[in-house]
């Protein structure tokens, strides 16, 4: 295992973040997680810099970034909606909620609305089965939903933006 000096490669944008980690392959996922934590997604430039720092081909970094569901390659919306598609939520109608949200926001899972306000993601399970069906918006749970409630929730977020 080699420990690389951050000065030996140029990392113009994310050097401060990346070089805090040892330059070994097993830190690839933690570095990407940290990068996403800061930026909300993995910017293209970030992939190049991580690849330089770890001396891995960009394709390998991209391969890992696209393998894991956690990593996003496009910028999420201001309101990041994650809809739980776990079994308990499914039998309580989460697919219907997903369709309603798609229709209302005009986007598919993995996309961000053109005004940058909303992004939609499906997640395998949020583990809050007792309040199924459940969605998470910016880390906050909203449970026991139906179509009506989810629509009024979206409206609430829109209203908040208008007030500002």
């Amino acid at each position: 295992m080699s420990v690389k000096d951050a000065t030996s490669v140029t990392l113009p944008l994310y050097g401060d973040l990346i070089s805090r980690f040892p330059a070994t392959r097993d830190y690839l996922i933690p570095i990407l997680q940290e990068l996403q934590e800061r930026e909300g997604y993995l910017p293209e430039q970030g992939i190049y810099e991580v690849s330089d720092y770890l001396d891995l081909p960009e394709s390998k970094v991209y391969g890992v970034a696209t393998f894991y569901n956690q990593f996003k390659l496009i910028k999420p919306g201001k309101y990041r909606i994650q809809i739980c598609r776990g079994t308990a939520c499914h039998v309580k109608g989460s697919f219907n909620l997903l369709e309603t949200l798609q229709r209302e926001l005009g986007i598919l899972p993995g996309e961000t609305s053109s005004d940058g306000l909303f992004s939609l993601e499906t997640v395998a399970c949020l583990g809050a089965c007792s309040i199924a069906p459940v969605i998470m918006v910016n880390g906050e749970f909203f449970g026991r939903l139906d179509n009506k409630k989810v629509l009024s929730l979206v409206q609430d977020f829109r209203n908040r933006e208008e007030v500002k």
């Binding site: 070994t24 392959r25 097993d26 830190y27 690839l28 996922i29 933690p30 990407l32 997680q33 391969g63 890992v64 393998f67 894991y68 569901n69 956690q70 990593f71 598609r85 776990g86 079994t87 308990a88 499914h90 039998v91 309580k92 109608g93 697919f95 219907n96 369709e99 309603t100 229709r103 997640v123 395998a124 399970c125 949020l126 583990g127 809050a128 089965c129 007792s130 309040i131 199924a132 459940v134 749970f141 449970g143 139906d146 179509n147 009506k148």
Partner: protein, 591 residues
């Protein structure tokens, strides 16, 4: 009269999702403002998720009372009344002899919902780390392995491999470097047992892990935990540094020659990483793709060194076994499945949450006696065990005891403990399709049959749910299922057809209804259902027309409305919105 001395709030993820944080903050604010002079604490998952948010009120005479569904308003009233429990009504109270709690047998969850998970002192007060001390001071690694073998403990991650035997393989290796990994990548949708244990009692898992490391001779360990569990990660980190401070972890633990270090690796959201070789690839920073076994991890694991992997619940059992004695532990459960099992009870169940029961209890007892049966007293249809690798068990098999062999015999698997209850409104063909679509997005793509075979199976199921299925499709499904099972490298592919096979076996009628009569008996498959308005019951309130996103529902005010079937997208908004139950769902070819 007894006085309230302390209020403890259940602050597992479930509790927080239901609003426990607001309750907790209200209590803290009241203390800060000098409105009351009592202790306020937090604890992990109390287990009765259906009653969240839950508080435990502790009195100076030692009495403790649980109250559930405590809203912020309720707690404000409680504070204003100077802790008069009369503000709580029937809904908040837990009945004296609540079967949900009284029928459980808590071993793994014995501390969850009782102690503060962020306090090592509270864990020590319950006898925490005593097992570790005893092991290090008076037992050889071989004796520890023997003790676990005697206990009969089997892996709680799903497959049920005997833990002691697993340990003995790696203990026999003479490698200078070995790794100990805790699998906390709980990925089954609908399962949250491990999260609750990590959130409610993280030290028990860490203690189990240190003992395991000692038994197998590992110097370094990893906890691979889902990034989706931020609270569990936070509490684990805290517990690890507390354990290091007291030298339960680190160099020369408790003055002995044994050193052990634990790192946390956050998973990045890939179901297949629950498979041990995929998990190791992920820890090494690669795509989580499984590889052929042998060599097993016990010979060649992380970076080529022998590695032992145990699940969270398995490890949490370890200190308990050493404390109560292997023989006593082995007296719980059945002949081949010892101890208890934690299940997360969810779906259409009346009282959902975490339950821990002795092995051998029947599914019926768990679902009906503990879980209270089905919501709204609907008809039970099936219980899904083992997530995407498991299967759906019908009513006639509800007297099956929960032990590894009996559950396997039904075609399902014990799995990690997710138990999702389904009722008459759940379509079993749709459930099979749902699991295959999950497998489709989670298959790593290495094996052709897992990657493409499951896709073909999903397409067939999709056709059936759209009323376009043929009878031959069922044979094709079974044939493909068999091929996917035998041609896949890892557990994900080998078990992926189970949800399809079990539903075909036990609910063939439903498949036939879709194919032959174009009916979805559960009224769930959109292509096969129609929303219609009963003109006799419609009052013309216009609410359906206002909700309808496609203007399919229309009509004049105060006159019966109707739905244009060509425009209708079956979203169900009119059905949910109608206050007079005038919107009906129909299936099959219109008469």
């Amino acid at each position: 009269m007894s006085r309230v001395t302390e209020i403890v709030v259940g602050m597992g993820s479930c509790g927080i999702a239901a609003g426990a944080k607001g309750v907790y903050d209200s209590l803290l604010a009241a203390i800060a403002q000098g409105k009351m002079d009592i202790k306020v604490g937090e604890t992990g998952c109390i287990g009765a998720c259906h009653k969240e948010p839950i508080i435990e009120v502790r009195y100076d005479n030692g009495q403790k009372k649980l109250f559930g569904e405590v809203s912020e308003k309720k707690i404000t009233d409680f504070i204003a009344s100077e802790c008069n429990e009369k503000v709580f009504n029937q809904e908040n109270a837990f009945p004296e002899d609540y079967p949900y709690l009284s029928r459980q047998r808590k071993v793994v969850l014995s501390n969850s919902g009782i102690i503060d998970p962020e306090s090592i002192v509270e864990y020590l007060d319950t006898g925490g780390y005593e097992a570790l001390k005893r092991v290090l001071q008076s037992m050889t690694p071989a004796q520890v392995v023997e003790e676990i073998k005697t206990s009969g403990l089997r892996g709680r991650g799903g497959a049920g491999f005997p833990t002691g035997m697993k340990w003995s393989f790696i203990a026999a290796s003479s490698s200078k470097r070995k790794y100990m990994v805790c699998n906390a990548d709980e990925g089954d949708p609908g399962a949250f047992m491990d999260r609750s244990v990590l959130e409610g009692d993280p030290h028990s898992v860490i203690e189990g892990m240190i003992i395991a490391a000692y038994a197998i001779g590992a110097g370094e360990g990893y906890i691979y935990v889902r990034a989706e569990y931020p609270l569990a990660i936070k509490r684990l980190n805290k517990a690890l540094s507390q354990a290091e401070e007291r030298n339960f972890l680190g160099n020369r633990i408790l003055g002995t020659g044994f050193s052990f270090f634990i790192h946390i690796k956050e998973g990045a959201g890939a179901f297949v990483c629950g498979e041990e070789t995929a998990m190791m690839a992920s820890i090494e920073g690669k795509r989580g793709m499984p590889r052929l076994r042998p060599p097993y991890p016990a010979e060649k694991g992380l970076w080529g060194y022998p590695t032992n992997i145990n699940n969270v619940e398995t490890l949490a059992n370890v200190p308990r076994i050493l404390n109560m004695g292997a023989k006593k532990f082995a007296s719980i459960g059945t002949e081949k499945s010892k101890g208890t099992k934690v299940f997360s009870l969810a779906g259409k169940i009346k009282y959902g949450g975490m339950v821990e029961v002795p092995m051998g209890m029947t599914l019926r007892e768990i679902i009906f006696d503990i879980g209270g049966g089905i919501q709204e007293d609907k008809q039970f249809k099936a219980v899904q065990l083992g997530g995407p690798s498991g299967g759906c068990i019908p009513e006639e098999l509800l007297d099956t005891p929960v032990d590894y062999e009996s559950i396997n015999a039904t075609g399902a698997i014990m799995g990690s403990g997710g138990m999702v209850v389904m009722d008459e409104t759940t379509c079993m063909v749709d459930v099979a399709r749902y699991f295959l679509s999950f497998i489709q997005s989670e298959s790593c793509g290495k094996c052709t049959f897992c990657r493409i075979g499951t896709k073909r199976m999903m397409e067939i199921l999709q056709r059936i749910t759209q009323g376009k299925g043929k009878l031959e499709d069922l044979d094709e499904l079974e044939d493909l299922a068999r091929r996917v099972k035998v041609s896949s490298l890892c557990g994900l592919g080998q078990t992926a057809p189970n949800p399809v096979l079990t539903t075909l076996k036990y609910f063939r009628d439903e498949y036939l209804a879709h194919i032959e009569r174009h009916e979805c008996p559960a009224m769930q498959c959109k292509a096969l259902v129609r929303y219609v308005i009963d003109p006799n019951e419609c009052r013309g309130c216009t609410i359906c027309a206002r909700f309808c996103p496609t203007h399919a529902a229309s009509g004049d005010a105060k006159k019966p409305h109707s739905i244009d079937q060509d425009l209708c997208i079956q979203c169900g908004l009119c059905y949910e919105g109608c206050r007079f139950h005038a919107v009906k769902i129909a299936t099959g070819v219109p008469a």
